[in-house]
Subunit: 452 residues, 2 copies
């Protein structure tokens, strides 16, 4: 029941496989969870992968197949006859079939589509055409549709008859003759109602749906807001074409958060998990932003060059540069992170611009005053008699923190207003910008207070 | 159907309220989605909140109540009689009641518990005792339990009889006389089976569950792995005590990701959304890390002080400091972000230590060589005849990037191995550490190559 015991499960299967006790293994796999079987197959070599897959009973095989890694799926496809392949594709839900095809090489895709039944092929092709990250690209076509004139008993009979193929049977969708979505009724409501109640009386007509062309993130936010386990998807003519289920939504949430983490650390988002991404791809994802930021900090270096006279006269000034720029960068990143995340989860909107600025100004004054006071006291103790230097550093710290937090909170909102991805305005870029700003403030203050 | 039309819905209600057309408003609210009604009530003043709440039909009222903000819940509680209050509490699912009580002041909690029925009170008290972030703290006690000797028809009859109060009826749990969990059967399997099949034949006995004391994040990962919409929760004696449902899991996922974003940007995680957090709390969450990091970069400053002779002799060297430290910080943060996120979603484990190090070494060499080459060429063009300076900067860049990526990837794994939260080893701390390392490398190289 615990995670540990489940690892015993997989190693038990491995022992049966190694001792060629195929009969016992076959019996165990037939009853096992498809996710565990897929995990078990991941660690096998090509020959054994195919061997184990052929042991699985028909119904189980396609469920396991949907959970396999693309490489293993390809292995099984290449070892399957056209008839076997057609069966697998028919058994898969359309969204799983599409996920698989997106990962396969073109010649394999061609073979898969050739063996599929014409209507399945048409559906798959339609789904493959939805843009990446659109609601259409994550929806599935298998759902229960009812008519509003049905009685509860008829509706339940229909669910029992067609439920085998639906991804989710717990929310049913009521459509008219033109397939326009008219209402939603849950299986719970049907079961708790009398047999001869008409669906129309039970169904919810206050429809909450998504369009195929919408961004998947919006569908995710909507499902979270209303605590739905599936969301109907309609086309431009309000016709029901699919549903998004909660398991897909959880995957999208995790992917989107990972993407934001990557982008906010100045990387191009990766398609695959870290350990499966090649060294070359990782390097490619990272180098572009490193170069851009390096060039930007050359500019900061250029600014520093203008004050050579100042730090040649008082070399002590140089030793405070890392502290000032780091603290400025950290203060700015704190603000930008909060705002970017707040916008991603829908808590902060464009209209909150002034509210955010006013809040950050007060926070930064509070925080900045504490940091400068600590610095002033420390410098007075460490370098007694250099009060003007202490004042310069403390003053620069206060101004830097206030500017850093204002810049850090405003740039993500501005980016979003200009339809630029706000995650760009995260720690790395903010740090670079704040670096330049803090150095200008610091040396200008030094020139005035120290008369350089 | 679109988000836009739903805003029209709320503003329509607002117009009815303002024009005191209470009868029409009452009729509309009775049919509305509880999440929308709660959103509508958020913008009302105290008096109107209570007024609107009293318009809601009984069944709807508790659903809306569960979706309200804590302040509004408190308002309604203080305006309710003891009888009304008892009704609300009985209607709430235990997890919603507990969520509410955790936000309320002690005297209000006392009154709520006093009015609750004794068994409800006992249950709530038990749930309030589960540690924060444990599975127990997010589970609910309302689920369908069956016995394995029941026939399908009996099971469905039981679901129809008790389903009204369950949070989820789509997965049913089979328990024995001591309430030990024996199996799981979905409503779908029950519906698709013959009426006189016995539950024991249908139920899945390969149990995947969570313990009350486990970390909620582990339950989330398990539900995602197996695509479950609810997960049974057992106590230390394997007795079924509750279930975790997918809507709670989605909330946990979003909260945990937000917490990681905040911690990785050197902030204490906040309890409430940004716009609802006070300036003082925001400042408090941010100042601790800013102080710690500021003190650390004072040490970096101290290191810099040791090389005063070097940059007094060649002041040009100072202008490359921001570029070197920034690039090192960015390179290190890229690696630490990927590793921290990879560990959070379970893709990278402690045992992958060497694999990760080997990968990062190769990536950093590739990236480092490109960055140094760009620098070398640029410096040769900008400052011709200063080849030794160009070599110093290019060499320091290469070593910095390799060290930054090694440190950035290893520290999060080390932290996890020492049972320290790996998110601490994110951009801000990595940047500070890499700053010091890169300056030591840079000035040591300068001293050797330039003979300072």
């Amino acid at each position: 029941m615990e995670e540990l015991e489940r690892k015993d499960l997989l190693s038990g299967w491995m022992k049966l496989l190694e001792s060629r006790n195929y009969r016992a293994l076959k019996a165990q796999l037939a009853d096992a969870n498809e996710v565990d079987v897929a995990e078990f197959m991941e660690d096998l070599n090509a020959e054994k992968t195919v061997l184990v897959f052929r042991m699985l009973p028909k119904g189980v095989a396609s469920d396991v197949f949907a959970n396999l890694e693309p490489e293993d799926q390809q292995l099984i496809i290449s070892s399957a006859t056209d008839t076997e392949l057609a069966e697998i594709v028919e058994d898969l839900n359309v969204d799983d079939a599409v996920d698989m095809l997106e990962e396969l090489p073109a010649n394999v895709v061609k073979r898969v589509l050739k063996t599929a039944r014409p209507d399945t092929r048409k559906l798959i092709n339609q789904f493959l055409n939805y843009p990446e990250n659109s609601v259409g690209s994550i929806m599935t076509a298998e759902f229960i549709d009812l008519r509003k004139t049905m009685k509860v008993s008829e509706a339940i009979a229909r669910i029992r008859a067609t439920g085998e193929e639906s991804e989710s049977i717990y929310t049913c969708y009521v459509i008219d003759a033109r397939r326009v979505l008219e209402g939603v009724v849950t299986l719970r409501e049907l079961l708790l109602a009398e047999d001869d109640t008409v669906v129309e009386e039970l169904m919810e007509t206050d429809l909450i749906a998504a369009r195929t062309t919408e961004d998947q993130e919006e569908a995710v936010q909507r499902m979270m807001k209303y605590d739905f386990i599936s969301l109907p998807v309609v086309d431009q003519e309000d016709r029901l074409v699919g549903i998004v289920t909660v398991d897909d939504v959880m995957d999208v949430m995790e992917e989107e958060a990972t993407e934001d983490f990557e982008k906010m650390a100045a990387m191009a988002p990766s398609e695959k998990p870290y350990l499966k991404t090649s060294v070359f791809t990782l390097a490619k994802n990272r180098i572009v932003w490193l170069l851009v930021l390096m060039v930007s900090s050359m500019i900061t270096g250029g600014i520093l060059g203008k004050y050579e006279a100042a730090f040649a006269a008082v070399p002590l000034l140089v030793t405070f540069i890392p502290m000032l720029t780091d603290t400025g960068g950290n203060a700015g990143s704190q603000s930008s992170t909060m705002i970017i995340r707040g916008m991603a989860v829908g808590e902060i909107e464009l209209g909150d611009f002034l509210k955010v600025l006013w809040k950050e100004l007060r926070v930064s004054l509070l925080v900045g005053l504490i940091l400068s006071a600590v610095n002033f006291v420390r410098l007075e103790i460490q370098y007694p008699g250099n009060t003007m230097v202490s004042l310069t550093v403390a003053g620069a710290m206060l101004v830097t923190v206030v500017l850093a937090k204002s810049i850090g909170s405003m740039l993500p909102i501005l980016a979003k207003r200009c339809h630029v991805d706000p995650t760009i305005m995260a720690a790395p870029l903010i740090t670079t910008i704040v670096d330049a700003v803090s150095l200008i403030v610091y040396f200008n203050l030094a020139q005035r207070l120290l008369g350089l």
